[in-house]
Every structure is written in C-alpha cells, then in structure tokens.
Subunit: 142 residues, 2 copies
DNA sequence: GTCGCAAATGCAAGTCGTTGCAGTTGCAGC
DNA sequence: GCTGCAACTGCAACGACTTGCATTTGCGAC
C-alpha cells in the first residue's frame, strides 16, 4: 500500500530509522480511523504481524507522539488512545455518563490560547484536548 | 486533630461510611498541601498507617473524586495527582520543558464552558484542568 | 559491497493501578 | 445493647505499561 511508503518518508524526515515494525505500527494507527487504544493496536498487530513485541509498540507510539506524528489522549478509561495527526486539529468532548466521544472544532479553544499567551506568556499546546462532562442526551435522561 | 472530625462529617454528609482508613487517607490529602500523587500518598501512609492497603487508597480516592471531595488531575507524568477541593476553583499550566506548574484562575475557561453549553448542549466539567505548553522563561531560553 | 555505530528490537522482569471475592465493619432500626 | 445488611477492606491475581540488557539492524561513510 502507498501508505507504507508515505509513512517511511515521514519517519525518515523525522530522523528516525525506518524499520518494518515502525512502518506497520504507524500504518495500523493511520488506518484505524479515529482513535485506537494501545492494547487494541497490539491485539490487531498480533494477527497481522505476530512478531512485533508489545514494548516495541509502546516505544514506537511514544517516540511518534514526541515527534508530533500521532496524538496521545487520555480518554478517561485509564488507557491512552492514539490518533494519527491529520490536517484538522480538533478536541474531544467525552461524556462521563455514557462514554460517548464527540469531536470539537479547534476554534473554541483558540481564544483561550491567545489569552494565555498575552497575559501569562504561556505558549499553550492545545493541539488535542479531552474535555470531560455530561452530554446533552444524558442530561435530558437524568 | 480537628481535621479528622471535619473529614468524618464531610464523608457522612456525602453518604459514605466513616472508616478510619478513609479518614486517614483524606486527611493526608488535605495536609499534603497542593498536589500529591497516589503513589506518594501510599508511601506516606505506609509510615503513618502501615495497615492500609494500596487498593483501599485508590478506591477511596476514586470515590472521593466522584463525590467532588478531591480533584484528580493528570499532570502528564502518567500518574494522577490528587488535591483536596478548596474554595477556589483553578487550573494548572504545566511546562513541558521545565515541568513547572502554575495556577490559573478559573475565569479563563468559564467562557469556553458557557459556549459549549450553548452551542453543543454539553455540560463541560472544567473544574480542574491541566494545560500543557511552554512557559515564558523556557521560551526566552530557547 | 562491507564496516561500524547508534538506534531499534525482543525478551524477561519489574512497577503501577485495577478487579474479584471472601471476610469485616459501620450504622440504622429495633 | 443486639441484629442485619450494605458498604468497605485486604488479599491475591490480573492486565497495562515500563525498563534493563543483550542482540540485531538500518544506514551513512568508505
């Protein structure tokens, strides 16, 4: 698949060695759609590439997150979820009651980031944010 | 200490049973000052009350967080930090470079919460938030 | 093509936090 | 003061994730 070549280029540009393990892991993240937990990723890789160790997956994801290739978000389940960094920066609204995850446009928090920089000189990294609360339908049920 | 009686009252009002373990754990959180990680809390309790099991500490903290008695915040270290809920709601600015933690007034994010409720019907729980980024002094150093 | 080295990998062992379960305990009702 | 029960506790086992270390491998230099 073309994705593998592309992933290899991204890796090389980031100054990382291009190993089949890394390419497979990152391709899996790209193809997984929205979010994928580390454990589910390991499970899926176990079927397609059984020789890849869990520690390799964790290390690859951590270094990819450092380089900004993937986002790592704590979705409140205790497990981190990973997502390939696409063009559109967005956040997530996570319902504490039903666990539903909704995407949220970046614009909501842009104002906060600007304000923080102007008033505190703090360059906030609001690239990918998880906001907990109670969604509309759970509120009406209650 | 008076704190123990007070903690017991808070627990009873919250509909929880008042056990010595819970009182000790929550007192420790109250006295620890700003933030304390679960593992450090367990370590401190080990010296003062060696008979309290780690699982009891985690369960007590989780139920106290549910009841809004303590805040649970992911400070990016992988470990959750706990803080006794005082009168002032506030957030934290955490520098990715030097690890410094600064408190941030609640007002910055109040606007976001209002906007989310009006536009998405989502009741955001912004009681205690950790925002990552780069602080002023680290920016000037770079 | 092959050499050398830093980076990446796989394995095993360890830590951290959670969960199931049987026994214990706080406390409301009598 | 006694009783019953739900909530709480401690233990042990488990899953998730990390770390140390010896081995392997990608890749730039020759």
């Amino acid at each position: 698949m073309a994705c593998e070549n592309e992933t290899a280029i991204v890796l090389r540009e980031a100054g990382q060695k291009v190993t089949p393990q890394r390419v497979h892991i990152l391709c899996e993240v790209r193809h997984s759609g929205v979010h994928i937990t580390a454990s589910r990723l390991i499970e899926e890789l176990r079927t397609s590439h059984p020789f890849i160790d869990a520690s390799t997956v964790y290390r690859t994801l951590a270094s990819a997150a450092d380089l900004g290739l993937v986002y790592e978000t704590d979705m409140g389940s205790g497990e981190s979820e990973f997502e390939w960094v696409g063009k559109d920066r967005h956040h997530h609204l996570i319902c504490r009651t039903c666990g539903d995850v909704t995407s949220l446009d970046n614009s909501y928090l842009d104002g906060v980031a600007t304000l923080l920089y102007e008033e505190a000189g703090f360059q906030a990294d609001l690239g990918h944010f998880a906001i907990f609360g109670v969604c509309k339908s759970c509120q009406t049920k209650a």
